[in-house]
Amino acid sequence: MMALFAQCRGMCRGITLRGACGAREFVTIAPQLKNMPVIIPIGGGKGGVGKSFISANLGALMAKRGHRVILIDLDLGGSNLHTLLGIKSPPGGLDRFLDKTENRLEQVAVPTHISNLSFISSLHCSMEIANLYHAQKVKLIHAILRLPCDCILLDLGAGTHFNTLDFFLTSEAGVFVCTPEPTAIENAFRFIKAAYLRKLKQIISRNAFHKIVKDAVQDGGNQALRYTDLVDLVLKYDPGMEMFLRDSIRRLQFRFILNQFRKSTDSTLGEKIKTVCNRHFYSPFEFLGQIDFDERVTDSILSKNLFTLQYPESKTAIDFRAIVDQLAPKRVASHTMVQVR
């Protein structure tokens, strides 16, 4: 049993590329190499909760601390990260990489008015995230992993499309954002469950599980298959793999931010959500903190300023810095700024 276990773990490694495109195709990512950048996907299911606002401000604050940061707008079809960065009409970005005009992803990154902070736009992409081909997605993910910088923030779109989930799962500690409202929390839970299920499927499809379990995962048409069913299937047909499955899913961590916090909000909400999720999911959850709602945010965006730099003393900016303390890569880069075209 131990031998089988070790063998399965070994099989998780390496890069798998599959030809066809479809929901059942997964992207395998090589284990993080020493000089690979830290990837922080920002997701969360619901639109308007502040994913882009948070990506932009986190990126700026990290760059200010000396990290070479690249922000990537992955909300294809809903791109607006440029607006939050005060860039009125960004030049081509992801589109130029995807249509092969440029070979290297770093060539489509543009500098921002903040040093150390570069940006890749998706404004000119003609497709929505759902229409991204599997091969394009794989190519993009591998290019992201090889970007020459310290930290990459991925601003994800709303929804739980499997392409969005795959970008979220490029990190084993993605961040999701929600606000203290029922609809935002509902969508956040849906997003977590979808990411969790996708990860479970990845683990099963890449390892030596029983054929019945594997077939259940391969069956892309079976939308009703939920993660509880998967665990049940493993228990029933593959009890020897149960511990392996649990150990693997435990390596996927979820971190979250509660945005647009108001005075009336229960100040213990974040900790409570964390505790409940840790109790009911096999994956660990971490609460990064809450960010105050500030009425001046809209004006700040209109005047093309980054809020946390314009109002560094505001509660909102203080909240942001506390989150950066936890998220920023531990080593500070001594190299020069990232090469842009």
Binding site: D266, I273, H280, Y282
Partner: protein, 219 residues
């Protein structure tokens, strides 16, 4: 998704074993705030069925831990099943056992030999095959068998450490005061071993019987 399935009542309410009534009340209120239908914390996290199960477990935990007698029985069960160390319960968990009917209860080995011997007697042999031949095994059947074999409840307690009140509840079909099913099964097995009857038949028959007894009476 993990549920409360393998958690004991203390774990469900996140309480230490020696928590007092005030702490139990507080923990219950907090659990309802989190798992209640209108809670923002778990909004749409669970299906209706899952939430119903969680709330039911919380309720059972609360009612058991608030009731001195039920709690003592429950604690005894945790100790018996090896799920908790007796030293963790600062409170007294077991009321003094009823004075044994015989001054010196026979030891386990003696009991085993005794039952073996007794079972050879024709009327008892008949009673055993009659009881085990039935689809349903009621608490009364177990009691009748025990008495026919001449064994006291206190003797069973000596061997199994199943509290006397639990044993009495089992024999009296006290459906509302029975331990959780996992424990009940293990107790029934121990009991069957002492009575030297088929443990599986005993467990199945008894569970079937109480399932029927639990149904609301028909007119």
């Amino acid at each position: 998704m993990k549920t409360f399935e393998n958690q004991n009542y203390y774990e469900i309410l996140k309480l230490p074993f020696d928590a007092d009534a005030v702490a139990v009340q507080r923990a219950y209120r907090e659990a309802l705030e989190i798992y209640g239908e209108n809670s923002l914390v778990t909004y749409e996290l669970f299906s209706d069925e899952q939430r119903g199960d969680l709330l039911q477990a919380i309720d059972e935990a609360y009612h058991t831990l608030m009731d001195e007698d039920k709690r003592a029985t429950y604690n005894q069960m945790l100790i018996h099943s090896g799920l908790a160390d007796p030293s963790l319960f600062a409170r007294k968990t077991e009321k003094p056992a009823a004075a044994p009917a015989r001054p010196a209860p026979v030891k386990h080995r003696d009991l085993q030999a005794w039952v073996k011997q007794k079972s050879k007697e024709e009327p008892i042999k008949q009673l055993i095959s009659e009881t085990m031949g039935k689809d349903l095994v009621a608490g009364d059947d177990l009691k009748r068998l025990r008495e026919a074999l001449g064994i006291e409840i206190s003797e069973i307690y000596e061997v199994t450490r199943i509290s006397a009140s639990t044993l009495r509840n089992i024999e009296a079909n006290q459906v509302n005061n029975l331990p959780a099913e996992v424990f009940l099964k293990s107790f029934l097995k121990s009991l069957a071993q002492i009575l030297q009857v088929d443990p599986q038949r005993t467990v199945d028959g008894y569970l079937k019987y109480i399932a029927l007894a639990r149904r609301p009476p028909r007119k």
